[in-house]
Symmetry: C2
Subunit: 206 residues, 2 copies
Protein backbone atom coordinates (compact mmCIF):
# COMPACT_ATOMS: atom_id res chain seq x y z
CA UNK A 1 0.00 0.00 0.00
CA UNK A 2 1.40 3.43 -0.98
CA UNK A 3 1.71 6.25 1.56
CA UNK A 4 -1.16 8.28 0.11
CA UNK A 5 -3.40 5.23 -0.26
CA UNK A 6 -2.65 4.42 3.39
CA UNK A 7 -3.49 8.01 4.30
CA UNK A 8 -6.81 7.77 2.45
CA UNK A 9 -7.71 4.71 4.49
CA UNK A 10 -6.67 6.38 7.76
CA UNK A 11 -8.78 9.43 6.95
CA UNK A 12 -11.83 7.27 6.28
CA UNK A 13 -11.42 6.02 9.87
CA UNK A 14 -10.94 9.62 11.12
CA UNK A 15 -14.18 10.65 9.36
CA UNK A 16 -16.13 7.62 10.62
CA UNK A 17 -15.26 8.18 14.29
CA UNK A 18 -16.84 11.64 14.12
CA UNK A 19 -20.04 9.74 14.94
CA UNK A 20 -18.93 9.16 18.55
CA UNK A 21 -19.93 12.81 19.16
CA UNK A 22 -23.54 11.72 18.65
CA UNK A 23 -23.50 8.86 21.19
CA UNK A 24 -25.15 10.05 24.41
CA UNK A 25 -24.36 8.83 27.91
CA UNK A 26 -26.48 8.96 31.06
CA UNK A 27 -24.22 11.57 32.69
CA UNK A 28 -25.77 15.05 32.84
CA UNK A 29 -23.73 18.20 32.18
CA UNK A 30 -24.55 21.72 33.33
CA UNK A 31 -24.19 25.03 31.36
CA UNK A 32 -26.31 24.15 29.39
CA UNK A 33 -27.91 21.06 30.98
CA UNK A 34 -27.68 18.16 28.53
CA UNK A 35 -26.39 14.58 28.36
CA UNK A 36 -22.66 14.08 27.90
CA UNK A 37 -21.52 12.43 24.67
CA UNK A 38 -18.89 9.72 24.49
CA UNK A 39 -16.36 11.79 22.51
CA UNK A 40 -16.13 14.63 25.05
CA UNK A 41 -16.21 12.01 27.85
CA UNK A 42 -13.17 10.32 26.25
CA UNK A 43 -11.38 13.68 26.09
CA UNK A 44 -12.10 14.34 29.75
CA UNK A 45 -10.72 10.92 30.76
CA UNK A 46 -7.55 11.43 28.70
CA UNK A 47 -6.85 14.78 30.40
CA UNK A 48 -7.59 13.13 33.76
CA UNK A 49 -4.94 10.50 32.98
CA UNK A 50 -2.35 13.24 32.34
CA UNK A 51 -3.39 15.19 35.43
CA UNK A 52 -3.64 12.26 37.87
CA UNK A 53 -0.61 10.34 36.54
CA UNK A 54 1.22 10.51 39.88
CA UNK A 55 -1.58 8.48 41.51
CA UNK A 56 -1.06 5.53 39.14
CA UNK A 57 1.07 2.61 40.39
CA UNK A 58 4.83 3.16 39.81
CA UNK A 59 5.90 2.23 36.30
CA UNK A 60 2.49 2.83 34.70
CA UNK A 61 2.86 3.88 31.04
CA UNK A 62 0.61 6.96 30.97
CA UNK A 63 0.93 7.39 27.21
CA UNK A 64 -0.60 3.95 26.82
CA UNK A 65 -3.36 4.82 29.32
CA UNK A 66 -4.17 7.96 27.30
CA UNK A 67 -4.25 6.05 23.99
CA UNK A 68 -6.50 3.40 25.55
CA UNK A 69 -8.93 6.02 26.88
CA UNK A 70 -9.06 7.82 23.53
CA UNK A 71 -10.26 4.69 21.72
CA UNK A 72 -12.08 2.75 24.47
CA UNK A 73 -15.55 4.01 23.57
CA UNK A 74 -15.34 3.87 19.76
CA UNK A 75 -17.37 0.65 19.74
CA UNK A 76 -20.33 2.70 21.01
CA UNK A 77 -20.68 4.17 17.49
CA UNK A 78 -22.46 0.88 16.67
CA UNK A 79 -23.36 -0.47 20.12
CA UNK A 80 -24.43 2.71 21.94
CA UNK A 81 -23.60 3.47 25.56
CA UNK A 82 -24.86 1.20 28.34
CA UNK A 83 -25.49 2.70 31.79
CA UNK A 84 -22.94 1.32 34.28
CA UNK A 85 -25.80 0.18 36.56
CA UNK A 86 -27.66 -1.86 33.89
CA UNK A 87 -28.41 -5.50 34.77
CA UNK A 88 -26.22 -8.52 33.91
CA UNK A 89 -28.30 -9.62 30.92
CA UNK A 90 -27.99 -6.13 29.41
CA UNK A 91 -24.24 -6.16 30.03
CA UNK A 92 -23.90 -9.54 28.27
CA UNK A 93 -25.82 -8.32 25.20
CA UNK A 94 -23.75 -5.13 25.21
CA UNK A 95 -20.50 -7.10 25.27
CA UNK A 96 -21.57 -9.03 22.17
CA UNK A 97 -22.59 -5.84 20.34
CA UNK A 98 -19.32 -4.10 21.26
CA UNK A 99 -17.23 -7.01 20.06
CA UNK A 100 -18.97 -6.93 16.66
CA UNK A 101 -18.49 -3.16 16.58
CA UNK A 102 -14.77 -3.50 17.29
CA UNK A 103 -14.51 -5.99 14.40
CA UNK A 104 -16.06 -3.46 12.02
CA UNK A 105 -14.62 -0.14 13.19
CA UNK A 106 -10.96 -1.00 13.75
CA UNK A 107 -10.91 -2.85 10.41
CA UNK A 108 -11.36 0.53 8.69
CA UNK A 109 -7.67 1.17 9.49
CA UNK A 110 -4.67 -0.25 7.62
CA UNK A 111 -4.06 -3.81 8.95
CA UNK A 112 -1.09 -2.99 11.25
CA UNK A 113 -3.02 -0.17 12.91
CA UNK A 114 -6.24 -2.20 13.05
CA UNK A 115 -4.32 -4.73 15.13
CA UNK A 116 -2.71 -2.09 17.36
CA UNK A 117 -5.95 -0.16 18.07
CA UNK A 118 -7.94 -3.37 18.60
CA UNK A 119 -5.18 -4.44 21.00
CA UNK A 120 -5.68 -1.26 23.04
CA UNK A 121 -9.42 -1.87 23.20
CA UNK A 122 -9.00 -5.54 24.19
CA UNK A 123 -6.47 -4.51 26.84
CA UNK A 124 -8.93 -1.98 28.30
CA UNK A 125 -11.74 -4.54 28.34
CA UNK A 126 -9.68 -7.36 29.87
CA UNK A 127 -8.31 -5.17 32.69
CA UNK A 128 -5.24 -7.33 33.20
CA UNK A 129 -2.51 -4.67 32.91
CA UNK A 130 -2.02 -1.85 35.42
CA UNK A 131 -2.53 0.60 32.54
CA UNK A 132 -5.98 -0.88 31.83
CA UNK A 133 -6.92 -0.92 35.52
CA UNK A 134 -5.90 2.71 35.99
CA UNK A 135 -7.83 3.69 32.84
CA UNK A 136 -10.93 1.82 34.04
CA UNK A 137 -10.68 3.50 37.44
CA UNK A 138 -10.75 6.94 35.78
CA UNK A 139 -13.74 5.83 33.67
CA UNK A 140 -15.62 5.00 36.88
CA UNK A 141 -14.50 8.09 38.83
CA UNK A 142 -15.47 10.69 36.21
CA UNK A 143 -19.28 10.12 36.36
CA UNK A 144 -19.09 10.24 40.18
CA UNK A 145 -17.49 13.70 40.00
CA UNK A 146 -20.21 14.74 37.50
CA UNK A 147 -23.00 13.50 39.79
CA UNK A 148 -21.51 15.35 42.74
CA UNK A 149 -21.33 18.53 40.64
CA UNK A 150 -25.02 18.44 39.64
CA UNK A 151 -26.26 17.47 43.11
CA UNK A 152 -27.06 13.80 42.54
CA UNK A 153 -27.54 13.37 38.78
CA UNK A 154 -27.94 9.79 37.58
CA UNK A 155 -27.84 8.46 41.18
CA UNK A 156 -31.12 10.16 41.92
CA UNK A 157 -32.61 9.78 38.45
CA UNK A 158 -32.18 5.99 38.55
CA UNK A 159 -32.52 5.46 42.31
CA UNK A 160 -28.93 4.24 42.63
CA UNK A 161 -27.76 3.49 46.18
CA UNK A 162 -24.39 3.70 47.93
CA UNK A 163 -23.84 -0.09 47.92
CA UNK A 164 -24.11 -0.05 44.10
CA UNK A 165 -21.67 2.84 43.81
CA UNK A 166 -19.22 1.08 46.15
CA UNK A 167 -18.88 -1.74 43.58
CA UNK A 168 -17.41 0.91 41.26
CA UNK A 169 -15.24 2.27 44.06
CA UNK A 170 -13.59 -1.18 44.22
CA UNK A 171 -12.72 -0.88 40.50
CA UNK A 172 -11.24 2.56 41.14
CA UNK A 173 -9.16 1.21 44.07
CA UNK A 174 -7.99 -1.59 41.82
CA UNK A 175 -6.47 1.04 39.50
CA UNK A 176 -5.19 3.48 42.11
CA UNK A 177 -5.30 3.28 45.93
CA UNK A 178 -5.28 7.11 46.17
CA UNK A 179 -8.21 7.52 43.80
CA UNK A 180 -10.05 4.68 45.53
CA UNK A 181 -9.66 6.41 48.89
CA UNK A 182 -10.90 9.66 47.40
CA UNK A 183 -13.90 7.93 45.80
CA UNK A 184 -14.82 6.18 49.07
CA UNK A 185 -14.79 9.55 50.87
CA UNK A 186 -16.86 11.05 48.04
CA UNK A 187 -19.55 8.37 48.48
CA UNK A 188 -19.68 8.95 52.25
CA UNK A 189 -20.01 12.68 51.66
CA UNK A 190 -22.75 12.20 49.03
CA UNK A 191 -24.73 10.00 51.45
CA UNK A 192 -24.28 12.49 54.30
CA UNK A 193 -25.44 15.37 52.05
CA UNK A 194 -28.51 13.45 50.88
CA UNK A 195 -27.34 13.19 47.24
CA UNK A 196 -27.10 9.39 47.34
CA UNK A 197 -29.35 6.93 49.18
CA UNK A 198 -27.41 4.85 51.76
CA UNK A 199 -28.41 1.32 50.72
CA UNK A 200 -30.84 -0.61 48.50
CA UNK A 201 -34.27 -0.59 50.12
CA UNK A 202 -33.06 2.03 52.57
CA UNK A 203 -35.09 4.74 50.81
CA UNK A 204 -34.07 6.67 47.72
CA UNK A 205 -33.04 10.30 47.87
CA UNK A 206 -34.74 10.81 44.48
CA UNK B 1 1.75 19.39 50.00
CA UNK B 2 0.43 15.94 50.99
CA UNK B 3 -0.65 13.40 48.37
CA UNK B 4 -4.35 13.74 49.14
CA UNK B 5 -4.17 17.55 49.27
CA UNK B 6 -2.42 17.45 45.89
CA UNK B 7 -5.15 15.14 44.59
CA UNK B 8 -7.84 17.57 45.82
CA UNK B 9 -6.19 20.36 43.87
CA UNK B 10 -5.86 18.20 40.73
CA UNK B 11 -9.53 17.25 40.93
CA UNK B 12 -10.59 20.89 41.16
CA UNK B 13 -8.83 21.33 37.80
CA UNK B 14 -10.52 18.18 36.43
CA UNK B 15 -13.92 19.56 37.49
CA UNK B 16 -13.25 23.04 36.10
CA UNK B 17 -12.25 21.82 32.62
CA UNK B 18 -15.67 20.16 32.26
CA UNK B 19 -16.72 23.61 30.98
CA UNK B 20 -14.84 23.10 27.69
CA UNK B 21 -17.79 20.88 26.66
CA UNK B 22 -19.92 24.04 26.56
CA UNK B 23 -17.60 26.05 24.27
CA UNK B 24 -19.01 25.96 20.74
CA UNK B 25 -16.98 26.17 17.54
CA UNK B 26 -18.07 27.20 14.05
CA UNK B 27 -17.73 23.65 12.69
CA UNK B 28 -21.07 21.93 12.02
CA UNK B 29 -21.65 18.26 12.83
CA UNK B 30 -24.30 16.00 11.32
CA UNK B 31 -26.49 13.36 13.10
CA UNK B 32 -27.87 15.50 14.69
CA UNK B 33 -26.83 18.78 13.03
CA UNK B 34 -25.28 21.04 15.66
CA UNK B 35 -22.08 22.99 16.31
CA UNK B 36 -19.04 21.06 17.51
CA UNK B 37 -17.73 21.83 20.99
CA UNK B 38 -14.06 22.25 21.84
CA UNK B 39 -13.85 19.19 24.12
CA UNK B 40 -15.01 16.69 21.48
CA UNK B 41 -12.88 18.57 18.89
CA UNK B 42 -9.82 18.04 21.12
CA UNK B 43 -10.64 14.34 21.41
CA UNK B 44 -10.93 14.04 17.63
CA UNK B 45 -7.54 15.73 17.13
CA UNK B 46 -5.86 13.46 19.70
CA UNK B 47 -7.15 10.33 17.94
CA UNK B 48 -6.03 11.85 14.62
CA UNK B 49 -2.51 12.24 16.05
CA UNK B 50 -2.43 8.54 16.97
CA UNK B 51 -3.88 7.48 13.61
CA UNK B 52 -1.76 9.73 11.39
CA UNK B 53 1.49 9.38 13.37
CA UNK B 54 3.37 7.86 10.42
CA UNK B 55 2.87 11.09 8.44
CA UNK B 56 4.68 13.19 11.06
CA UNK B 57 8.36 14.01 10.43
CA UNK B 58 10.73 11.23 11.64
CA UNK B 59 11.47 11.50 15.36
CA UNK B 60 8.24 13.31 16.25
CA UNK B 61 7.17 12.51 19.85
CA UNK B 62 3.52 11.59 19.29
CA UNK B 63 2.79 11.29 23.01
CA UNK B 64 3.74 14.94 23.34
CA UNK B 65 1.58 15.86 20.32
CA UNK B 66 -1.39 14.09 21.94
CA UNK B 67 -0.84 15.82 25.29
CA UNK B 68 -0.57 19.19 23.53
CA UNK B 69 -3.81 18.63 21.60
CA UNK B 70 -5.66 17.54 24.74
CA UNK B 71 -4.92 20.84 26.51
CA UNK B 72 -4.53 23.30 23.60
CA UNK B 73 -8.11 24.60 23.75
CA UNK B 74 -8.57 24.81 27.54
CA UNK B 75 -8.06 28.60 27.39
CA UNK B 76 -11.34 28.80 25.46
CA UNK B 77 -13.18 28.14 28.73
CA UNK B 78 -12.60 31.84 29.44
CA UNK B 79 -11.78 33.24 25.99
CA UNK B 80 -14.27 31.34 23.78
CA UNK B 81 -13.44 29.98 20.33
CA UNK B 82 -12.43 32.34 17.54
CA UNK B 83 -13.22 31.37 13.93
CA UNK B 84 -9.97 30.64 12.05
CA UNK B 85 -10.97 33.20 9.38
CA UNK B 86 -11.56 36.09 11.78
CA UNK B 87 -9.66 39.34 11.04
CA UNK B 88 -6.27 40.33 12.48
CA UNK B 89 -7.69 42.69 15.11
CA UNK B 90 -9.94 39.92 16.41
CA UNK B 91 -6.99 37.53 16.49
CA UNK B 92 -4.93 40.04 18.50
CA UNK B 93 -7.73 40.52 21.07
CA UNK B 94 -8.17 36.75 21.25
CA UNK B 95 -4.47 36.19 21.92
CA UNK B 96 -4.63 38.55 24.89
CA UNK B 97 -7.76 36.87 26.27
CA UNK B 98 -6.22 33.41 25.85
CA UNK B 99 -3.04 34.40 27.61
CA UNK B 100 -5.03 35.66 30.62
CA UNK B 101 -7.09 32.45 30.54
CA UNK B 102 -3.93 30.32 30.55
CA UNK B 103 -2.70 32.26 33.61
CA UNK B 104 -5.91 31.46 35.49
CA UNK B 105 -6.70 27.91 34.37
CA UNK B 106 -3.30 26.20 34.56
CA UNK B 107 -2.70 27.82 37.97
CA UNK B 108 -5.50 25.61 39.35
CA UNK B 109 -3.00 22.72 39.19
CA UNK B 110 -0.18 22.04 41.68
CA UNK B 111 2.78 24.31 40.74
CA UNK B 112 4.90 21.63 38.97
CA UNK B 113 1.97 20.59 36.81
CA UNK B 114 0.87 24.18 36.21
CA UNK B 115 4.32 24.77 34.70
CA UNK B 116 4.25 21.57 32.63
CA UNK B 117 0.73 22.10 31.20
CA UNK B 118 1.37 25.78 30.54
CA UNK B 119 4.56 24.71 28.75
CA UNK B 120 2.54 22.43 26.46
CA UNK B 121 0.15 25.27 25.65
CA UNK B 122 2.97 27.75 25.00
CA UNK B 123 4.71 25.19 22.79
CA UNK B 124 1.53 24.70 20.74
CA UNK B 125 1.04 28.46 20.35
CA UNK B 126 4.66 29.22 19.42
CA UNK B 127 4.82 26.45 16.78
CA UNK B 128 8.59 26.16 16.99
CA UNK B 129 8.90 22.39 17.59
CA UNK B 130 7.97 19.74 15.03
CA UNK B 131 5.48 18.37 17.59
CA UNK B 132 3.70 21.74 17.76
CA UNK B 133 3.70 22.13 13.96
CA UNK B 134 2.26 18.64 13.45
CA UNK B 135 -0.40 19.32 16.11
CA UNK B 136 -1.30 22.64 14.49
CA UNK B 137 -1.57 20.96 11.09
CA UNK B 138 -4.09 18.47 12.47
CA UNK B 139 -6.04 21.35 14.06
CA UNK B 140 -6.33 22.97 10.61
CA UNK B 141 -7.09 19.75 8.71
CA UNK B 142 -9.96 18.55 10.92
CA UNK B 143 -12.42 21.39 10.09
CA UNK B 144 -11.65 20.91 6.38
CA UNK B 145 -12.67 17.25 6.64
CA UNK B 146 -15.83 18.34 8.51
CA UNK B 147 -16.73 20.92 5.82
CA UNK B 148 -16.24 18.35 3.10
CA UNK B 149 -18.51 15.92 4.97
CA UNK B 150 -21.40 18.39 5.27
CA UNK B 151 -21.09 19.70 1.70
CA UNK B 152 -19.45 23.07 2.36
CA UNK B 153 -20.24 23.96 5.99
CA UNK B 154 -18.49 27.04 7.32
CA UNK B 155 -16.89 27.75 3.92
CA UNK B 156 -20.31 28.48 2.45
CA UNK B 157 -21.82 29.94 5.62
CA UNK B 158 -19.08 32.59 5.86
CA UNK B 159 -18.31 32.97 2.13
CA UNK B 160 -14.77 31.61 2.57
CA UNK B 161 -12.76 31.23 -0.66
CA UNK B 162 -10.05 28.80 -1.75
CA UNK B 163 -7.24 31.36 -1.38
CA UNK B 164 -8.16 31.77 2.30
CA UNK B 165 -8.21 28.01 2.84
CA UNK B 166 -4.84 27.66 1.12
CA UNK B 167 -3.27 29.79 3.90
CA UNK B 168 -4.27 26.98 6.27
CA UNK B 169 -2.99 24.37 3.83
CA UNK B 170 0.46 25.95 4.21
CA UNK B 171 0.26 25.44 7.99
CA UNK B 172 -0.71 21.81 7.42
CA UNK B 173 2.24 21.34 5.01
CA UNK B 174 4.49 22.89 7.62
CA UNK B 175 3.54 20.06 10.02
CA UNK B 176 3.43 17.19 7.52
CA UNK B 177 4.19 17.16 3.77
CA UNK B 178 1.81 14.18 3.28
CA UNK B 179 -1.09 15.88 5.03
CA UNK B 180 -0.35 19.11 3.18
CA UNK B 181 -0.52 17.31 -0.15
CA UNK B 182 -3.80 15.68 0.86
CA UNK B 183 -5.25 19.04 1.98
CA UNK B 184 -4.21 20.74 -1.26
CA UNK B 185 -6.00 18.01 -3.25
CA UNK B 186 -9.03 18.36 -0.97
CA UNK B 187 -9.28 22.10 -1.70
CA UNK B 188 -9.04 21.48 -5.46
CA UNK B 189 -11.76 18.85 -5.21
CA UNK B 190 -14.00 21.12 -3.11
CA UNK B 191 -13.66 23.93 -5.69
CA UNK B 192 -14.36 21.53 -8.56
CA UNK B 193 -17.47 20.19 -6.78
CA UNK B 194 -18.77 23.69 -6.06
CA UNK B 195 -18.41 23.40 -2.27
CA UNK B 196 -15.80 26.17 -2.06
CA UNK B 197 -15.59 29.38 -4.12
CA UNK B 198 -12.35 29.58 -6.14
CA UNK B 199 -11.03 33.00 -5.06
CA UNK B 200 -12.02 36.16 -3.21
CA UNK B 201 -14.28 38.23 -5.41
CA UNK B 202 -14.66 35.29 -7.76
CA UNK B 203 -18.21 34.67 -6.53
CA UNK B 204 -19.20 32.80 -3.38
CA UNK B 205 -20.79 29.37 -3.50
CA UNK B 206 -22.92 30.35 -0.48
Amino acid sequence: MGRMERLDQQLRFVTEIDRLKGVLRQTMLTEPPRRENSAEHSWHLAVMALTLADHAPPGTDIGRVVAMLLVHDLVEIDAGDLFAYADQAQHARQQEAESAAADRIFALLPPDQATAFRGLWDEFEERRTQEARFARGLDRLQPMLANLKVGGGTWQEHGITADQVLVNVKLIEDGSPDLGRYARDLVARAVRDGLLAPAHGGGSAA
